[in-house]
């Protein structure tokens, strides 16, 4: 299963001087779920609207099953693309029943076929009993599923979902997320969804594309994006990260919290920054420890500590919920990154390797979980 269904090349859209989408290349394979992840204003919704055909791109092309549906000469209108969309506000037709909403895209089918398909899709989303209801008579989660059923009914080649869970209450969100993924998987749908929530992206997507200022920063599995970020932006945006100054010494990189195998060759003495996630860092209570607990943020399943190192630098540690240290407790800090990710220091290093938008060259290497404080 590696056939590319939908892909865009050098896709660009300006609004006046603002580059909402800036030379974007993304592709999604059949049956795959791709998340477009990024902060608000990164161009992810514009990308979705370009793919759906609601906006005309300024440059670049969009290929659906190898055929150009949007390029310099072609702009296929949305109704001819065969791309479904689930809108952020669901956009259910308030004057139509659930069944008529779901059947709205099935106008080319014969009535009997149409009724069958409506029933089948509503069964798929578990709303068979609510056919005759009107949208305002449904809960938020139910409306969501009707919107999904409506978009799935004509069997689109690709389904686009715009912030599909943002209109749901927090306690409902995780549950609906699971249901939606279940439905998409069982219909073997190829889908692209937009979110600003990494947890959402990780939970559902096969691959995650991180966008920033209309550009693609990185695309990969959730694990790749989290553990092996290619840019400072990805490291920062996806999960929490601290960047500790380090220095190359031959085949390893040395920091205040330890020494790890260098992931790439740089001249000895090169100044770099090493990325550390809170879950890479643990604390041990030790009256003789050089670091001091500064603050604790209780998050239920864990404690996030802010710890001041002897150098004056602060790092964050994720510790179990039951491990409680009072502020100003002296601790020992253990860092054990599973992968060593270094970013070349902006000032000090001559560029090596692929340049990035951050002007830093990221590199990674597998590292044994090693290091001590």
């Amino acid at each position: 299963m590696s056939e590319i269904v939908l892909q865009c090349e050098a896709l660009t859209k300006h609004y006046g001087p603002v580059r909402a989408v800036d030379g974007l290349d993304v592709a999604v394979e059949r049956g795959q779920i791709l998340a477009l992840l990024g902060p608000s204003g990164c161009g992810k919704t514009t990308t979705l609207r370009l793919l759906a055909g609601f906006e005309r791109p300024d440059q670049g092309r969009i290929l659906l099953e190898g055929r150009a549906i949007s390029d310099a000469r072609t702009l296929l209108p949305p109704e001819r693309r065969g791309i479904g969309m689930v809108f952020q506000d669901y956009a259910l037709f308030p004057h139509l029943t659930v069944a008529d909403n779901v059947g709205f895209g099935l106008h080319r089918l014969r009535p009997a076929e149409r009724a069958d398909r409506i029933r089948a899709v509503l069964k798929l989303v578990g709303l068979a009993a609510l056919e005759e209801r009107y949208p305002h008579e449904l809960s938020g989660g139910q409306q969501q599923r009707v919107a999904l059923a409506r978009a799935l009914a004509p069997q689109p080649k690709v389904l686009l979902l715009d912030e599909p869970f943002s209109n749901l209450d927090a306690d409902l969100r995780a549950q609906v997320r699971g249901e939606v993924e279940q439905i998409l998987r069982s219909a073997a749908t190829t889908a692209i969804f937009v979110t600003h929530d990494q947890e959402e992206a990780f939970a559902i997507a096969d691959r995650v594309a991180v966008l920033n200022e209309g550009r693609l920063e990185q695309v990969g599995t959730a694990e790749e994006v989290y553990h092996l970020p290619l840019t400072r932006f990805v490291a920062d945006f996806v999960g929490r990260a601290d960047f500790l100054p380090g220095r190359f010494t031959g085949d390893s990189v040395e920091t205040e919290l330890g020494r790890w195998p260098a992931p790439l060759d740089l001249p000895p003495g090169t100044e770099v920054e090493v990325m550390l996630r809170p879950d890479d860092i643990s604390l041990v209570a030790d009256p003789g420890g050089a670091a001091v607990v500064e603050a604790r943020q209780f998050r239920g399943e864990e404690n996030i500590y802010t710890v001041r190192l002897p150098s004056g630098r602060g790092v964050h540690s994720s510790s179990p919920a039951y491990e409680v240290y009072a502020p100003r407790t002296s601790v020992r800090v253990l860092a054990h990154p599973p992968h060593v990710v270094v970013f070349a220091h902006k000032r000090a290093v001559p560029q090596k390797g692929p340049a990035t938008s951050q002007g830093a060259s990221p590199s990674t290497a597998e590292a044994p979980s090693a290091g001590d404080g």
Partner: protein, 543 residues
Amino acid sequence: MQAAEGGGTPAATSVYRRGQGARAPGPPVFVWAPAVLVAAGVALPLAYLVVRTLGSGAEAWELLARGRTLAILGRSLLLALVVTGATVAIGLPLAWLTVRTDLPLRRVWSVLTALPLVIPSYVIGFVVVAALGPRGMLQGLLAGPLGVERLPEIYGFPGAALSLSLVSFPYVLLGVRGALARLDPALEEAARSLGHGGWATFRKVTLPLLRPALAAGALLVALYTLSDFGAVSMLRYETFTWAIYLQYQTSFDRSLAAALSLVLVVIAVAILAIEAQTRGRSRYYRSTAGAVRPAAAVRLGGWRWPALAFCSVVALFALALPLAVLGYWLARGLGAGETLHLLWGPMVNSAYASGLAAVATVAAALPVVFLAVRYRSLVTALLERMTYVGFALPGIAIALSLVFFGANYLQPLYQSLALLVFAYLVLFLPTAVGAERISLLQVRPSLEEAARSLGRPPLQVLARVTIPLMRPGIAAGAALVFLLTMKELPATLILGPIGFKTLATSLWSSASEGFFARAAAPALLLVLASSVPLAILTLRARR
């Protein structure tokens, strides 16, 4: 993959139509072409008026420069000023009393005081004449016991000012009431907590926040007064509209009528420009969006009685007395052997013309609204603005322009129902556009996009999604246009086909010939018919 059980390969079951097309997401031709046509058609009367006036050369300017024109201008502005002042004095306190206080029977008063809106100005004018004029009710009552032979003259300024104030104060009242209801009471509470008393709070916080609504209402009243034909013609006060009509009727050369119309149009446009500016500024005054918590009612205490007296006096003069006067003359007429079956023809004509106007206007407004709301640009905004000509043009000016144009270029249409309906369309298009605009703004664009992504082409999206969702707005627009057309007088008088009598024109001709008893029945019918759409709208809004 149960959902996919349509059978066969994806390609075979695909319900999307295949095809290529290099179309921009701009407005489709079936939207912009009719919109352009409507805007051009609506602009025609104004354009022709300008051409005609400029074309008549120096003569018209000489006529205009005469002292008589200045006198007309002076009278018109004086009337507008006094009526505007009076309506603010009536409308502002009424609005506050009915929205913010514990006035007894508050609901009843708020309905009763808005009702004069359905009484056409010439009906009130007629009532004033029939009650206070020579051979009127009051004189009849006083002549017997007191031997009063003459009452103070009611014709002219006093009667016109009284009539117009009584019919137009609801414009101020309703605007201010809306603003008061939307006003976030937290602002006033903040002022109170900062140490200001009730009156100081009203003066420093409430009133400034109401100012845009008040200004808009006042300007509407001024515009209404300037372009009113009914009341000033009944009371023979020579402002622009009455002077234009006299000139048109009595003189063979109609250039002066055209020139006077143009002057009137210029003044009206100036007022509208000021109004637009205050409306633009009102955004800064706008309080929190959405529903706000209703304010606690102010306790009137002992002031309850003067407040009640005030409301009663307004309702008495604007509503109860006029209806009583009409009832009195109707009874007198019936007693004297007048028959009602003569009314049937005008009634049918009125309903027929109004129905045609409503359908035509609502249909013409649709493409304009689609273009302006869904394809916003400088050009489409301008196009929409052009359809607002009817706001600026007094009915008499549009009617005159169409008479000239019809007589010169469209001989077969001259004095036809079609031309009359077109005049109604020009006059009331802004109303229909306004109503439809609001309802289209409430249709989220994502609904249309959803329909497109489900494989429906633009025209089907319009027919299946957009227009059904706009139905309340379209119905409201049609009802309003119907109501306005029923009441319309000057265009109907001038453009109506020969022998085409409507309720409005038969009332007008009977009244101006002094047959008060014969005029009472169509007047009552008009008031009744005008209240039906309003009642429907009010009931709808309540639900």
